[in-house]
């Protein structure tokens, strides 16, 4: 099924480019730019499962990424685990935690659910600020010995980059896989009309809890990999509310509900942000512009960039899923 989808091949080509481009001449600055885009794509793709597919706006999505980062850094530095195992463990642990959170807060709908997700983010941040093993508000630092098992810091960072690209590809493939599955059909039914979906036989409680948990897994793995690369973590960087909001902007900009749209929005937003941050006159206005952009998209192009492409070339709807 998957192999027949043009979007699947598009995802593979995009990932191959991410691997190939910085490799050329060991271009570290380019790699550092691309890793931010990759993280943005991971976050917006997984957020898309909640917002675009299920119709539940999650303002606290970044909590999964931050928790993954903490668990990953703790396991590699304090416990001396291998990075890959630690990242997977972080994903599983956070996915399970999300399942528990989800069963609690997914009884709420609309604005109430959105508020509860902010509550989850704040609660987790407050917990971590007071949690001794994770260094309270000063956070944790990676010991450089962790890099040695990978053949030194230089090599470790490149390997970490490729792992993050792998998670980016997986995020998009997961989004596509869910979109063309029965599970995805059930989610879309919930998005359109949750009561009608239940009367049609969709077990809405279980479906919502599963998708919430699934949307937590890969961001947590990515968090573990990214903070391993950064070498340091603290509760204010890991659980930054602004990053959660930016994820929503990316998704709306690209086109919620669309796999390619979510990635497109992430790429566009990251490009715009790097442009604004480096421009001396505009660097203070990055968030103002993000807010304005969100307003314009919601008012005039609720389908986002991809919706605009669909309208321009109706046939692209089947190709760019």
């Amino acid at each position: 099924m998957m192999l027949k989808r043009p979007s699947f091949w598009l995802i593979l080509i995009l990932s191959a480019l991410f691997i190939y481009l910085p490799l050329h001449g060991q271009n570290v600055p380019l790699r550092e730019d691309l890793v931010l885009v990759a993280i943005a794509i991971i976050l917006s793709s997984n957020l898309n499962l909640m917002i675009g597919y299920t119709g539940y706006v999650n303002f606290g999505h970044i909590v999964f990424y931050g928790l993954g980062g903490y668990i990953g850094l703790y396991l590699t530095t304090v416990r001396g685990w291998n990075l890959v195992v630690a990242a997977l463990a972080a994903g599983v642990a956070v996915g399970f935690l999300a399942l528990l959170f989800g069963l609690g807060i997914l009884r709420l709908r609309g604005a109430y659910f959105a508020l509860a997700t902010i509550g989850v983010l704040e609660a987790v941040q407050a917990f971590v600020i007071n949690f001794d093993p994770w260094g309270r508000s000063t956070g944790m630092f990676l010991s450089f010995t962790s890099y040695q098992s990978w053949g030194g810091a230089m090599r470790a960072l490149w390997i970490d980059y490729y792992l993050i690209i792998g998670i980016m590809a997986l995020s998009m493939i997961l989004s596509l896989g869910i979109k063309i599955s029965k599970f995805g059909l059930g989610l879309f039914a919930i998005r359109e009309n949750e009561d009608a979906a239940a009367v049609l036989g969709v077990n809405t409680t279980v479906y919502k809890a599963i998708v919430y948990s699934v949307s937590a897994f890969l961001p947590a793995v990515a968090g573990a990999l990214m903070f391993f690369k950064n070498g340091t973590i603290d509760p204010f960087i890991a659980f930054e509310f602004m990053l959660s909001l930016e994820g929503i902007v990316m998704l709306m900009l690209g086109g919620q509900g669309s796999v390619i749209g979510a990635a497109l929005g992430a790429g566009m937003y990251e490009w715009l942000r790097s442009f604004l941050l480096t421009s001396p006159k505009l660097s203070d206005f990055q968030l103002v512009i993000a807010g304005g952009l969100l307003l314009i998209v919601i008012l005039f192009a609720p389908g986002g960039l991809i919706g605009w492409v669909y309208r321009l070339v109706p046939k692209s709807r089947g190709v760019l899923e």
């Binding site: 059909l185 059930g186 039914a189 359109e192 009309n193 009608a196 009367v199 049609l200 969709v202 077990n203």
Partner: protein
Amino acid sequence: MTPLLEVKNVSKRFGGLLAVSDVSFTLNQGEILGLIGPNGAGKTTLFNVVNGVYKSDGGSIRFDGHNLSGESPHRVVHLGLARTHQIVQPLNEMTVRDNVTVGACFGREYLGLNAAHEVAYEVLEQVGMAGRANMLARSLTIAGKKRLEVARALAAKPKLLLLDEVLAGLNPTEITQMIELVRSIRERGVSVFMIEHLMQAVMNLSDRIVVLNFGQKLAEGRPEEVARDPQVIEAYLGDPNIAEKLTEKN
């Protein structure tokens, strides 16, 4: 023969309002049972209790050997009881075919996506909507949306179909088509329990009729019996000669 649906002493209370009060009736295999009564009599509430949207306050509901009391709506569909909504609930931004595919995917047979697509196509043919399969549900007319409600419910391959005012808001041609559709559904072996205000249609279609008034069962019986019942005439029909008027055309 044990009845397909057996409702015994069921009540439903909303705060101080007793919306359904101690109602009992049975529905037999292959039957079309009509449910009539004035606005606010508790007809839709009774549907909602039967299919699990509301929990009943006392009483028992048995369907096809299962106890439905306390079951959630999605479980009720899996057991073979599907319904339509009085106020249509299309999945607006999905195509007509996807709407029906949802019904087939999560219905009694819990089909996989490919099998469900085929069932959806068959059902759309059956209800005469195959030509509109790729339209968005939101762009259908009200008659189309009512038909879609029926198609989605049928795709679940139910043993019993609850129809909540499928004729309301349709023009005379559409009503004739819908009546034909309900007949064809029964001919395929699906039992039907229908709420309807259009007396001529419900009198002609139903094998038996249950009348609700203020949440209580006022009468039950064959259409002509019910239409002659002085209590029913007083509470709902208003015309003592209605039985003759409605049945003479048949």
